[in-house]
Amino acid sequence: MTEKTDPSPILIISELVKSFSNQRVLDGINLEVYPGEIMVIMGGSGCGKSTLLRHIIGSIAPDSGSIKLFGQEMTTLDDKALNAIRKRFGILFQSGALFNSLTIGDNIALILKEHTNLDATTIEIMVKIKLELVNLREHADKMPAMISGGMKKRAGLARAIALDPKILFYDEPSAGLDPVTSAQIDQLIIDLTKKLHVTSVVVTHEMDSAFTIADRMCMLDKGKVLKVGTRQEFEWLRDSDPADCPSEQDRLIRQFLRGDAEGPITERKLTSDYEEDLLMASLKHEK
């Protein structure tokens, strides 16, 4: 695990709650992220991990709870103050989210033009430096439509680090990539975290990727934090015998980490409302 030089967390999430159409998506999330570490937030599809990330970056307002980033309460900031915070972090979206009307180089240059007073020459040099960090320097003049999915993610990452952020957020960085490209992205996340001395928060359900990059891990399930711990703790849980996992929660996490077809997650899905569903269907047709 990366050594913590600053004991105070860079990101503190407390009792975060969010519901959409009476469905509780985040149910009292508590999480702390420390400077310099790679925190992996994982969980099954629909568990609320991407929604949590959108709350952290200020895209969605919570129903209740608190998010403190760089010591500032994100949930009460006005647009101007929120934008000042946004200049201090970078985010890589699942699709890369490059601006399709601009070249790869211009995607990065746009951020620098808008948020700095650098002259055109310096901006061009900065763009080349950022692209070199993600091994895309020779592709600066290409349009996003002309490059592969992996290259789009790397270009999105170059844009995310344009303003030398203190914290980087990644939304499913390995999703939809082949194993080699996925491994390259993982290595890039580790390298950038070390080279740029940034904190990284990675949302993923790719377990190989998670165990490669994580310093600490957080497991979400149905909008709740099941466990936060070091990578070693999760590795122990993954490799443990079922008999060593006395609690239902540990068995659930173990099944997710191992990707087993059978276990508490599968049983929960199989038994959920099945009888009621069949009964309702028969009653509906009787009417």
Partner: protein, 289 residues
């Protein structure tokens, strides 16, 4: 559950007529409230875009994005020139041909030039240009912005502390307004030119036709036509940007398609209604004399 469904479920069934009256009444209130909410959102967007454009033009330290504006003007306007010319040529031909037999019957064939010029400059020039642009520019803007929402580009802009209204709405809105006005001027000229050619075919003297056209349109008529064009352009740009940005990320291609279709329909309805309002106002102030 829709407003109508909830009303149906909650009715206590006192009598058939009263129940349906309640449903119609409450549905009407729901639809009106939703409509007013949308109008309010469009005006808020206009207010924000106007504020940003004003600061960009007049206050130091505020960027407007002139390159983006120029790009949008080319996309919205320059590429629409051939189709505007084609349509106005056709209309400048149809109107004289339709009117000639009746006017010739009364010995007033020369008045074709007057009618064609007045109709073109005051009404058909801006109206037809706007209708063409609602499809040519409005649909394209709505589809583009809607796709940007679904591909997370708008969220990426916001996460990069960049305001989507400044980056996307202002250049598109300004370009639509400016190019609707410019294309209207072209449409006006083309319609007169087409009328002259048609008049020649009908045996009218081209010089006389041209002189009558020029004398028929005074400065007020020309300017009111351009004012209309500016308003139509604003409506197209606003409706397209609002509907495009209103697409939800999870709606995907269906949401984008819906926004595109709605943009064309709402734009044309808004243009025609505002044309009627303009005509009533100008008529009551005697600007058509």
């Amino acid at each position: 559950m829709s407003v109508c469904e909830s009303v149906e479920n909650s009715s206590e069934n006192p009598s058939f007529a009263r129940r349906w009256l309640a449903i119609v009444g409450r549905c009407s209130i729901g639809v009106t409230r939703s409509f007013l909410g949308k109008i309010g959102s469009v005006f808020l967007l206009l207010a924000e875009a106007t504020q940003i454009a004003f600061k960009g033009f007049f206050l130091p330290g505020h960027k407007l994005g002139k390159e983006a504006l120029f790009f949008q003007m080319v996309r919205v306007g320059i590429k629409a020139i051939p189709i505007v010319i084609l349509i106005q040529m056709a209309i400048g031909m149809i109107l004289p041909l339709q009117m000639y037999p009746k006017l010739a019957e009364f010995g007033q064939a020369d008045q074709i030039a007057t009618i064609n010029a007045i109709a073109g400059f005051r009404e058909l020039g801006p109206l037809m240009t706007a209708i063409i642009l609602s499809g040519f520019a409005g649909a394209s803007i709505a589809a583009e912005l809607g796709t940007m929402v679904t591909s997370e580009e708008i969220e990426a802009l916001e996460a990069s502390a960049l305001n989507p209204v400044r980056f996307l709405v202002v250049p598109r809105l300004l370009a639509t307004v400016l190019m609707t006005v410019m294309l209207t001027v072209i449409a006006d000229v083309v319609m007169v030119f087409s009328g002259v050619l048609t008049g020649m075919k009908l045996g009218l003297d081209p010089d006389t036709y041209y002189q009558m056209s020029v004398s028929a349109v005074n400065l007020t008529g020309f300017v009111t036509g351009l004012v209309k064009a500016a308003v139509y352009g604003t409506l197209i740009g606003l409706i397209a940007c609002h509907l495009g940005l209103s697409v939800k990320p999870w709606q995907g291609s269906e949401g984008v398609g819906q926004a595109t279709t709605n943009t064309v329909v709402y734009s044309i309805v808004a243009i025609v209604i505002s044309a009627a309002i303009f005509t009533m106002i100008f008529y009551s102030y005697g600007l058509f004399n």
